[in-house]
């Protein structure tokens, strides 16, 4: 299929979204997290341009629906490997924007205390293993976590994100293959954002990756990555299937990276018409419209959420700027672990989980949906 | 590779335990399919063997008749062990009379391969003469550290390492040996220049400031009384300088236990090098003399033999970090010894320039008073007048003085690849008088040997 044409994408698979199990509150939360991701990344970019961010700057502008929608599905004891365009997933699990911003600026208040930069972080206390630069290495790590879940017969899911460029790499195939052989509870989220740095889809693969899933023995699902509820639904089905022992799913989310690969990239290789087309499909603006049109929100309610988020992010930025730079003496710390500590559980704001356990710590039994 | 029993003049071929797999070390015979006397075709299975990985048949390595079984079934042996012998020259149809007595198995005792013997071990003490590098003065870090800590003069220590190197155990043994000796005096050396008589050592008077040393005629026994001279005489008052020299020389002779050691030095290379460098230096206003070469070699040698750069003060030897080199300059009626301070820093050219400079100013009477103080070693060079040997008097409070005599072309023996031959080289004698209170003959000789070696191996461009 021609992946560059957005209208084709929209026609490909129109999901009838009925009975999506989201409450009004859930929808507000979804909107809030997408807005938080957008606002935080805009603020970070400003800080970068102000010279307060060392190294490189990456964001996922235009892809907010993917990370927020997918992460929303998870229970506290589920695990994630999050990539550089998925800030929303970190927020859903409980990382606050001030820690994100401090991390970009290399401050002690960042999630890794300065050891790592930009999006190479993950809060282990919230059940996240952060990324490495080599892609898609984390797909194998997620596969490994899923192996453990299966060996222990735990109804838990490992979710891993990667771009379409990663599907060219041997390790992606090794992960897909192993997950398929053993029917591991992995949810593979593939963000096809049209370009891997400057490389368009047609130079990255000969066959659309979603078509390849069945060759590894499990389903591939193609969704509109700029529709947060469509992403959510696909992820929900995949997670339920995995928990029930049904094995992995590959979800290819069609979306578009609205900024360059990094702030240093001016995207000259992107045709203007393409940008404009996807600009019209901005996930946040679309969802704002839907909230009002389909879900009974008032316009000023939606506006209030935007404003509250902006104010919150501004406050977080202030806090981040107050965080000190790390002590150089710590540079040689932590090469080795003295003892093993298990990963912690993340937040699970979806109402379905809070119905069963107010604390969101995954101790209650899971209600299985029919396969 | 050592020869295996199968490679011999006889015709027996061994069946060996194979290595069936990378980590297998041994195998066990299960059963033999051939008995002694049986005919065997090459590649035919002769026995069954089991290892902890697999069971396998062993094919015969050659055709012939089974001669002898060496390992019985049930026995476990290491990989490579001979299991049986096959007579590979037997013909089918011939009976093999007595397989057990067949002696094909004993390899002929091999003559050890002829080997050239290593050169006979070098004499323990002296530096090796025959081409082995002299390492007797190379001191490793631990040897230096131990020597420093115990105040050991490493030149006293016999080295048993390669090239005569002093090893850690040598210096430790030396120290242990010393602990027995009275008051930690060094071992008496085999060669002593002159008898040491402790009673003779009067408390040395510090020499008067500014006095000079002269390589003049040796002072000997007190002269006969003047009144006994025969014939008409003329009297002349001695100049101030003359009187000072007289005082200094006699004082020096009374203070120090004078000995003189002489080495002969071949100046062929120095002459060649001087030829190479002279013109360029002249253009820079520097006159390159043989004395400059000797001075440079001396300074280098002093750094390795610091005792010759010392002074005696009562019961102590005072070592000087710097070499302040006195150069004796002949004047109309006397001599003066200006001092080149910290001469160890100077290159050959620097040395030549410094010598010219002080000599010129000395003759012109333009030396500073400070410039005649503080010398630690003196060199004198009266050889321009043709004398070949001398026994100079030490310039107090130094412990040695080196005299460069005339450089004379002589026929010398030169050792070459095809034997010895005669060549004509510029030769000279380096005469050094030294104070037996501070040194012994061996010290003096070693020092001079170093100076000589430096001069004789001076690098020359090719």
């Amino acid at each position: 299929m021609e992946t560059a044409d957005a209208s084709v994408v929209a026609r490909e698979r129109v999901r009838e979204l009925v009975d999506v199990p989201l409450t009004r509150e859930d929808r507000a939360i979804l909107f809030r997290y997408m807005t938080m991701m957008r606002a935080s990344e805009e603020r970070a970019l400003t800080l970068y341009k102000q010279g307060k961010v060392p190294g490189s700057f990456y964001d996922g502008r235009g892809q907010e629906a993917v990370s927020v929608g997918a992460a929303f599905v998870l229970r506290p004891e589920d695990r994630m490997c999050i990539l550089h365009r998925d800030l929303g997933a970190h927020f859903v699990r409980g990382v606050t924007p001030d820690r994100y911003l401090a991390g970009y600026m290399g401050r002690s208040g960042g999630v890794t205390g300065g050891k790592e930069g930009n999006m190479h972080f993950g809060d282990r206390m919230l059940g996240c293993v952060g990324m490495v630069s080599m892609l898609p290495d984390m797909a194998l790590v997620a596969t490994g976590m899923a192996l453990k879940f299966k060996m222990r017969h735990e109804p838990r899911v490992a979710m891993t994100f990667f771009g379409e460029g990663s599907t060219a790499n041997g390790q992606w195939h090794e992960a897909m293959n192993l997950a398929g052989i053993h029917r591991l509870p992995v949810v593979f989220i593939l963000e096809n954002n049209r370009f891997a740095y400057s490389t368009p889809n047609e130079l990255e693969f000969a066959v659309d990756p979603v078509e390849r899933a069945h060759t590894y023995g499990f389903p591939g699902v193609n969704v509109d990555g700029n529709d947060v509820e469509e992403v959510f639904e696909a992820a929900r089905e995949a997670a339920d299937l995995a928990r029930a022992g049904g094995g992995p799913t590959l979800i290819e989310c069609q979306t578009m990276r609205m900024h360059g690969h990094g702030a240093h990239d001016d995207m000259r290789y992107v045709p203007k018409e393409l940008r404009d087309e996807w600009e019209r499909r901005d996930p946040i603006d679309r969802y704002a419209e839907r909230l009002v049109a389909d879900f009974g929100f008032r316009a000023d309610e939606v506006e209030a959420i935007r404003n509250e988020v902006q104010a919150y992010v501004d406050e977080c930025a202030k806090k981040a700027l107050e965080s000190p730079m790390p002590d150089p003496a710590l540079a040689t710390d932590g090469v080795y672990a003295d003892e093993f500590e298990p990963l912690g559980d993340g937040n699970a704001p979806w109402s379905r989980w809070s119905q069963h356990n107010g604390a969101g710590n995954g101790t209650a039994p899971v209600e299985r949906r029919a396969a | 590779m050592s020869s295996s029993p199968t490679e011999q003049a006889t015709t027996a071929v061994d069946v060996v335990m194979p290595q069936m797999g990378v980590s297998v070390a041994e195998g066990t015979i299960v059963e033999w399919r051939k008995r002694p006397g049986d005919w065997i075709e090459a590649d035919e299975p002769v026995c069954d063997v089991t290892t902890d990985k697999i069971d396998v048949e062993i094919p015969a390595p050659a055709s012939g008749r089974m001669q002898e079984i060496l390992v019985e079934p049930g026995t476990t042996v290491a990989v490579g062990t001979p299991l049986a012998r096959i007579d590979a020259e037997a013909k089918p149809g011939e009976a093999h009379p007595d397989e057990h007595a067949a002696n094909g198995g004993q390899p002929a005792a091999e003559a050890p391969p002829p080997r050239t013997e290593a050169a006979p071990p070098q004499a323990e003490q002296a530096p090796a003469p025959n081409g082995e590098e002299d390492r007797s003065r190379f001191y490793s870090p631990v040897v230096r550290r131990i020597a420093d800590k115990h105040g050991v003069d490493l030149e006293q220590v016999k080295g048993t390492g390669i090239g005569g190197r002093v090893r850690k155990k040598d210096v430790l043994a030396y120290i242990e040996g010393q602990e027995g000796a009275p008051e930690g005096r060094p071992e008496p050396l085999l060669h002593i220049e002159s008898p040491y008589r402790p009673d003779e050592a009067d408390a040395p008077q510090p020499s008067e400031a500014g006095t000079e040393a002269a390589p003049a005629a040796p002072a000997g026994a007190p002269p006969p009384g003047v009144g006994e001279l025969v014939g008409p005489t003329r009297r002349e008052p001695m100049s101030v300088m003359r009187q000072a020299i007289a005082r200094h020389m006699t004082g020096s002779r009374r203070t120090a236990a004078h000995c003189t050691t002489i080495v002969e030095a071949d100046f062929a290379r120095v002459a060649a090098r001087r030829g190479e460098l002279r013109d360029a230096m002249k253009r820079r206003g520097v006159s390159l003399t043989y004395l400059a070469f000797v001075a440079r070699a001396t300074v280098e040698a002093l750094q390795e033999h610091p005792r010759l750069n010392a002074s005696v003060d009562g019961d102590e030897l005072v070592y000087h970090d710097d070499v302040n080199l006195g150069i004796a300059v002949a004047l109309d009626d006397g001599l003066i010894v200006p001092v080149i301070r910290r001469a160890q820093r100077l290159s050959l050219e620097g040395m030549a320039a410094a010598i010219s400079d002080v000599a010129e100013r000395a003759r012109a009477g333009k030396l500073d008073p400070d410039e005649v103080h503080g010398g630690t070693f003196t060199i004198t060079n009266p050889g321009q007048f043709g004398a070949v040997l001398a026994t100079p008097i030490i310039n107090q409070p130094q412990v040695a003085i080196l005299d460069l005599e005339a450089i004379v072309k002589r026929p010398v023996v030169v050792e070459g690849e095809d034997g010895d031959s005669i060549a004509i080289h510029p030769m000279t004698y380096l005469c050094m008088s030294w104070d037996h209170r501070a040194l012994d003959g061996a010290d003096a000789a070693r020092f001079l040997a170093k100076v000589k070696a430096r001069l004789e191996t001076w690098e020359v461009s090719r």
């Binding site: 890794t112 290495d137 041997g170 003892e339 | 297998v24 041994e26």
Partner: protein, 341 residues
């Protein structure tokens, strides 16, 4: 040959109530370590190629499927990055995977996961990765360039990994047990040539040898051979056959290096030869030589020397291979030279 116990260094061995010893080969000791730990701790499991039904290329896991089930002795597809990467994921979740690379040489196919993911997770994110990668290494049997390597130096160069290399059967068991219990990723170099050629009395039951401690295999005064793996045995034989007062220090752990034991021995004898079968340049020998020269210069009576393979891929044909891998005669000659210096 029997193992000489460590002297002088701090920690006693972690053995708790061993029930006696049994003679085992080096390979049997490795199996025994795995079995003991897998019985003691359910979270320990093995993953590698052909380790299940086939029992492993070298039969280390022979019988494991029968005892522990196919889940805990998992046959992996031909995918080293997958083996290692999956192990990382399982380890961060609390399992204790022991990966087997069929030959150490194939670690290059899993290098990325080992060096970039496993090694750095704790430093970057405080996440401990308690896993072991077993690496059958070493040559001497015409394995050729891809079945004979000793790649330990690559991993000593990757901060965050621990690297161990036992020489005796007793240490083969003890170090593997410690590696399994360590909360860090550990590369375990098992020398194939020692598998069946080395036997020891090995303690039964629980037996752990601390990581990071060298062992004096033979005490001496005149010179020290610092060695690990197969070279330890060469050094011991050389010492006996030369009948010289040679001290042999078996490093056992390469990262973190037991610097103190190396320096103590170097200061005692003043003469150090570092020996390993791995290639020369930038190998462990270079690291030990630099350490000794930096910290014990004033105690040295001779330059620090190395006996290693030259910088060549390991060739196949026996005369070529034997000329490349250090032999007993090479060891004896190197010792003689250093003693005479």
């Amino acid at each position: 040959m029997s193992a000489v116990e460590a002297t002088g260094t701090a920690a006693a061995e972690l053995a708790s109530a061993p029930s006696g010893t049994r003679e085992m080969t080096y390979l049997e000791a490795i199996s025994d370590a795995l079995r003991t730990e897998m019985r003691r701790d359910e979270s320990v499991f093995c993953i590698g190629e052909d380790i299940g039904a086939f029992g492993g290329a070298f039969k280390v896991t022979d019988g494991f499927v029968e005892e522990f089930g196919a889940d805990r002795c998992l046959d992996a597809p031909l995918a080293e990055n997958a083996i290692i990467g999956t192990a990382v994921g399982a380890a961060v979740e609390g399992l204790k995977p022991v990966c087997e690379m069929q030959f150490a040489d194939f670690i290059s196919c899993g290098f990325d996961q080992l060096v970039n993911v496993a090694a750095k997770l704790h430093y970057r994110q405080g996440i401990a990765v308690p896993m072991v990668v077993r690496l059958p290494s070493g040559g001497g049997f015409s394995g050729g360039p891809f079945h004979s390597q000793n790649p330990e130096a690559w991993f000593v160069q990757a901060p965050g990994l621990k690297v161990v290399a036992p020489a005796t059967a007793s240490d083969a068991k003890g170090l593997l047990v410690s590696a399994i219990r360590d909360p860090n990723p550990v590369c375990y170099l098992e020398h194939k040539g020692l598998y069946r050629h080395i036997k020891d009395e090995v303690p039964e039951g629980e037996h752990a040898v601390p990581i990071g401690e060298a062992r004096i295999a033979r005490a001496g005064e005149e010179m020290t051979v610092v060695a690990y793996g197969s070279s330890v045995h060469l050094a011991l034989r050389a010492g006996e056959e030369l009948d010289e007062d040679i001290e042999v220090l078996d490093l056992r752990t390469l990262a973190p290096l037991d610097r103190q034991s190396i320096l103590t021995s170097a200061r005692k004898t003043g003469k150090v030869l570092v020996a390993h079968e791995a290639t020369r340049s930038a190998g462990i020998g270079a690291e030990v030589a630099a350490l000794v020269t930096e910290e014990a210069f004033e105690e040295l009576d001779a330059p620090v020397r190395r006996l290693t393979a030259p910088d060549v891929p390991i060739p196949f044909s026996p005369p070529l291979e034997q000329s490349v891998l250090p032999q007993l005669d090479d060891m004896k000659e190197a010792c003689r030279e250093l003693l005479a210096y």
